[in-house]
Amino acid sequence: MNDLDNTIICRCSDVTLGDIRRLIAEGYTSFDEIKRITRCGMGPCQGKTCQQLIQREIAMATGQPIAALRDQTTRPPATGVRLELVAKEAYRDED
């Protein structure tokens, strides 16, 4: 394993470039598939760091332009919110 293999691609879940390249070679050639096996894109950053890096790897390995690759579904919330605050706001709206 060389240093490039150990480069962290997903900071939330400690996924390395080596992990990503192995999965692409095994046939997991979309961000969503790699996400479900490795947890990249599921952490607090929600893929804001890893997605573009992984898409670039997939594009290089498969010869497709990045624009042709499917991104993950963007889901709310845009940033982490404490559940008790959401609950408090909901009760306030009901009053």
């Binding site: 969503d32 952490g43 607090p44 929600q46 889901r75 919330p77 982490g80 559940l83 609950a87 909901a90």
Partner: protein
């Protein structure tokens, strides 16, 4: 893509992958699995991941016990390189009405007759297991330490890889556009990437099972309903079991990774197949969990998602072959329990399709029960 197959399975979720694996194990390997997106991209990949044996009917107890015992050894049986991450720390069912307590007591008797180690708990005992439980609003609880939850992606991946090693062909990003029926028999499955001649098709299409059946001219009484889940930031381990309440309407687990995953049902959810997220769910879920498990209210939600329940009139699945079209089989209508029944589904369907002696009696789940008015009523569902 193969152009001739003995069996075509439509759907690459836990159901389709488990059936493919079980058929291959019986020696039928000229199988093609068709998946519109990628493996585990549908309902299985969106599910709450729980596996419980605390049911209220003998059949569900028996079937879920089979599935749980399979999942205990899934890594070895499926010879999986990874880990399906079975966290077997129990299900704590909580009740806030006398009616629910009475039901739990009846259920525990049924469970004991099936050899399931469940028991009623006092609120003090429940609080020992889950210290952050707000017992002020509860009346009692039931617990089974052998229940748990596991990683749906890896579990499905394990079935998929095992089936592929035995010769099953998986075609992802392949959409079924039609099913050719001639003289009352299945002849072929048409996809956007070509046609596969086959005498047998198995409908495992989850939220799209109705559409697939229509392609063969078969009408089945199922509909799809959106169900939503949210997940928090990961924290140190603080909750062992899945906490679930039918009346208070929630289920909450802490994944091995540390995040809390939680969901609830809502009869007002859309039935048009959309999988968007709603503000209403976030608010209702936040209110419920903040009330029942206040410590979790302190955590930040990082994502919501949604998937489709494939619902039947009695909220139990259908394992059957069509009487209208020969060669058309279905494992559909799981109504939210498809993942936990995955191992049992594969065995039941593989025996049915190959005409072998059934290893598991699932005769109560045939399609004709709706027309005959013999609904299979399970009291313990969310």
């Amino acid at each position: 893509m193969r152009t001739n197959a003995d069996i075509v399975i439509i759907g690459g979720g836990i159901t389709g992958c488990s059936i493919a694996y079980n058929l291959a194990k019986k020696g039928v390997t000229n199988i093609v699995v068709l998946e519109k997106r990628y493996i585990c991209s549908g309902s299985t990949g969106c599910c709450g991941a729980g596996v419980r044996m605390q049911w209220g009917t003998e059949m569900n107890c028996r079937m879920s016990k089979f599935s749980t015992e399979f999942y205990e050894h899934a890594n070895d049986i499926l010879e999986y390189d990874g880990d399906v991450e079975f966290k077997q720390k129990g299900y704590l069912l909580i009740a806030d009405t006398e009616r629910e307590i009475a039901q739990f007591k009846k259920n525990v008797e049924v469970q004991h007759a099936c050899g399931i180690p469940s028991r009623m708990l006092t609120l003090a005992e429940a609080k020992e297991i889950v210290p952050h439980l707000n017992t002020d609003i509860l009346l009692g609880a039931a617990f089974c330490e052998k229940d748990g939850f596991l990683n749906p992606f890896k579990t499905t991946d394990a079935f998929h890889r095992a089936a592929r090693r035995m010769g099953v062909e998986f075609n992802t990003f392949t959409t079924v556009t039609g099913i050719t029926v001639e003289n009352g028999r299945v002849r072929a499955v048409v996809t956007d990437k070509g046609t596969i001649n086959t005498p047998v098709v198995v409908n495992c299409a989850g939220g799209f099972s109705h559409d697939i059946a229509q392609m063969a001219g078969i009408d089945i009484p199922v509909y799809r309903e959106r169900h939503q889940i949210l997940v928090t930031e990961p924290v140190e381990p603080m909750q062992d079991p899945m906490v679930m309440a039918f009346g208070l309407n929630l289920y909450v687990q802490q994944s091995p990774h540390g995040s809390f995953i939680m969901g609830r049902g809502d009869a007002n959810e859309p039935r048009d197949g959309r999988c968007t997220s709603s503000w209403r769910f976030l608010e209702e879920m936040a209110k419920t969990v903040d009330n029942v498990l206040p410590a979790i209210g302190k955590l930040r939600v990082v994502r919501q998602w949604a998937g489709l329940y494939n619902m039947t009139p009695d909220r139990q699945p259908v394992y059957d072959k069509s009487e209208q079209v020969e060669g058309f089989y279905m494992a559909i209508g799981f109504s939210g329990h498809g993942f936990m029944f995955g191992p049992v589904t594969g065995v039941v369907m593989a025996d049915m399709i190959t005409g072998s002696e059934p290893r598991i009696d699932a005769s109560g789940l045939r399609l004709s029960r709706f027309a005959e008015g013999k609904l299979f009523v399970e009291p313990s569902v969310v």
